[in-house]
Symmetry: C2
Subunit: 228 residues, 2 copies
């Protein structure tokens, strides 16, 4: 009796065997699909690095054919371009929200730093996309966009450092540009370490230990409020 039921259960193939692939048959609007492609590209880049992501990989991940991708983007580089633009929008909003939330420039720096690290912890592909010199060489538009992001970020940090100096919170002999470089380097160093220990340590916890050292490096000596 039980055998009979088992065989009957095997038959229905309107759920088409579903072997490892999603049976997503839905037909999406162009805009919606474009966004999905970008998200899938970013996700895949997080797992295996941008340079190893093929358009076939993207198509497989969303359950459609490779050719369909090129109905939504003229070129693979355009997908990366859209991805980087997405990152920029998100990162900027995260950063600016953190900056607005704080009362003095040093607090703003800390807020930005921790917000940035949290953002990266949630989306591990971001540093690999933005700091990847693979994408830097692919397309001149990509190169320019990435350059804009980094230089913009750097000058944003340098501006806050200038304000900190003016408010007597930072050393007067501080070179804002160099300190901004160190700020970005701090992020890169944490990402590198997290890559090597492949997530065994918490990125945010490590970040909280590193930042006081940086803060101590830029802070003026007469302003000795205890660090966190």
């Amino acid at each position: 009796m039980t055998d009979y039921y088992l065989i009957a259960l095997k038959m229905p193939n309107h759920t088409p065997i579903d072997n490892t692939e999603k049976p997503r048959k839905r037909r999406m609007g162009a805009e919606e699909r474009q966004e999905e492609i970008v998200q899938v590209a970013i996700d895949l880049a997080a797992k295996s690095g941008a340079e190893s992501v093929t358009t076939q990989d993207m198509a497989d991940a969303m359950g459609l054919t490779q050719g369909a991708i090129f109905r939504h983007f003229p070129t693979k580089d355009d997908i990366w371009l859209a991805a980087i633009n997405w990152v920029r929008r998100r990162l900027m909003s995260v950063v600016e929200a953190a900056a607005a939330r704080s009362e003095n420039p040093l607090e703003a720096l800390e807020g930005i730093f921790l917000a940035h690290i949290s953002f990266i912890a949630k989306h591990p592909a971001i540093p690999r996309l933005v700091f990847s010199d693979y994408l830097l060489r692919r397309d001149s538009r990509l190169k320019q966009l990435i350059q804009e992001i980094i230089t913009g970020y750097e000058s944003r940090i340098a501006g806050l450092l200038g304000q900190a100096k003016a408010a007597g919170l930072a050393r007067l002999d501080l070179d804002e540009g160099s300190a901004a470089t160190l700020f970005i380097g701090m992020i890169q160093g944490l990402v590198l370490q997290s890559n090597i220990f492949s997530g065994r340590r918490s990125l945010l916890d490590e970040a909280k230990k590193v930042f006081p050292i940086y803060l101590n490096g830029i802070r003026s000596r007469n302003n000795n409020e205890e660090q966190i």
Copy 2:
């Protein structure tokens, strides 16, 4: 008639047209050739990134055919492995020489930092090879080697920081591991900036401006010798 000559001119292939490629006909010993392949691989990686260097590129650069490469290395990854090993040997000797040259731990840190930066300035491929997560994914041997280099470097720095603490040169509440992460991040930040401004600024000059900030971050407050 002229056609005849043209055909006749096409025949002699002992001087094979020599278009843009060196007519290097020399036949080298295996060991010598292996070293040349490694050097060429590193040079090409400096120009266009490791992930875009093909074995054909290497062969072209040294004036022989692509197949010849595989007479000296069983696999392309073995070339990268040899390249990374070469980098490790050179970097270690540069760093240790700088460390031996100095009298206290903080001086040693500065010496190592500047020596490292100078080394990188001379060989721009190094950070791209060692910090590249492209190579990290290619081969497990590569991954392990790179991990060894970075963790070894990091613990070397952390050790010096520990000595500095013991000698009263660094803050007692300093987390050596985090400070070592920041040290490496500092290097990465400078490399990134140098990439973006594509060599328009001197890497070493920028380094000399960034290091005092780091030093100030780790130094104890009662030890207030003026910085450079």
